[in-house]
Symmetry: C2
Subunit: 220 residues, 2 copies
Amino acid sequence: MTKASVSKLVPRVPSRRQQYSQATRRALIEMGEELFTEHGYSAASLDQIVAGAEVTKGALYHHFSGKQALFEAVFEKVEGEASRTIQESLKGHQDPWDKAIAGLRQFLVVVQQPAYRRIVILEGPAVLGYARYREQEERSAYTHVYDIVDSVLEAGSWELDEPMVETFARIFFGAMSSAGEAVSTADDPETAAARVEAAITFILAGFQALAEQGDDGPTS
Amino acid sequence: MTKASVSKLVPRVPSRRQQYSQATRRALIEMGEELFTEHGYSAASLDQIVAGAEVTKGALYHHFSGKQALFEAVFEKVEGEASRTIQESLKGHQDPWDKAIAGLRQFLVVVQQPAYRRIVILEGPAVLGYARYREQEERSAYTHVYDIVDSVLEAGSWELDEPMVETFARIFFGAMSSAGEAVSTADDPETAAARVEAAITFILAGFQALAEQGDDGPTS
DNA sequence: ACAGCAACATACCGTCGGTACGTACTCAGA
DNA sequence: TCTGAGTACGTACCGACGGTATGTTGCTGT
């Protein structure tokens, strides 16, 4: 092992150049988030973004391969932050049903944030394409939904194979995205959120009822 | 009442000019559907579309106010056709649960059509914006979901106000859109569809179980 | 001290949505 | 039958925007 390769393993203090570089990169992502959220992907021009970040297109194309790559970076940031708050909300709950409700509540909060609505839910699929969109979602908010659904179903003591759990998770994720959108566009988001919570709770209660009366569970 | 205004009430045989006009309009919409489906909204250029329809941009801008208006016309066509097939599938079923399953089955068929997936589900919200998207959906596929959900809930003999039914309808619509997407991108759409059907059936069974044990129903 | 690369800046290009304007054709009314 | 008006396009062009090609600067390892 050479000296050079060793130095790569040692924690390095970033040079001033690297620090500045990261600063412009962050500035671009932040302006991207702001303008993509406000005007949408196509209506937000790169000229506006670089002007807002007080750099030039040269800087942008040094850090990102193009407009879509910038959007993807913004997407990851917004999605990551949202995912983290949901994860936080799950802590301190052991019972699957409690966890489900807690996660649902936080999701309904997240989905009302303009950036998440516009970038992740509304334009994400169209801009990234479903393939990349899924890739991103798989390692973020969706995984929490999957985990919750998995534990809820396990609590019902049905023996479901992984694809069946996946199907339920997809269904709930879609339901909550749609419900979240309805909540965030409602005249009174508070009561709208309460109604969604009541509906989901009701569905979960149906699961419990089936579990208690010894239902076989879904059979594919 | 003048002669002129009377003549407007009389069914008129369309002139040759009008016939040709409608033909080019249809040609534009059909090419729009084809290219929007294949390449997406932004990647499908108006030059391609008018070339494919064998007209010029003058013709396009005579019939539509712009690219978005053409997309909206295409959207209405695709959505309308899908909605009609779902409506057809509901005929001959009286029992709410049967209707729900029949509608679900047809929806899972519809959602596998590339045009519906790309234009209605994937790009519709982003291109039209959620406001116009909702307007369109309200009078088509969503209304069927609403009707079905309404009758299912009524069969459970819970007394729910309209917003609560609306909430359930939103949830199910979102669930089915997401599930449909999962089905259409699955390696084996057949079994994926079967799993979705099993999952939804299971949820509905939960409703039935709650109804039988005299549950109060969701309270907002 | 110098080579070399990272981190930008500047100038420019092609494409695309949209517009302005011209034209052929139709058709109702005098 | 002639004509004015309106419809249904075609043609030429513009500005904006995403992307690229080509510098320029300054840190950094050797």
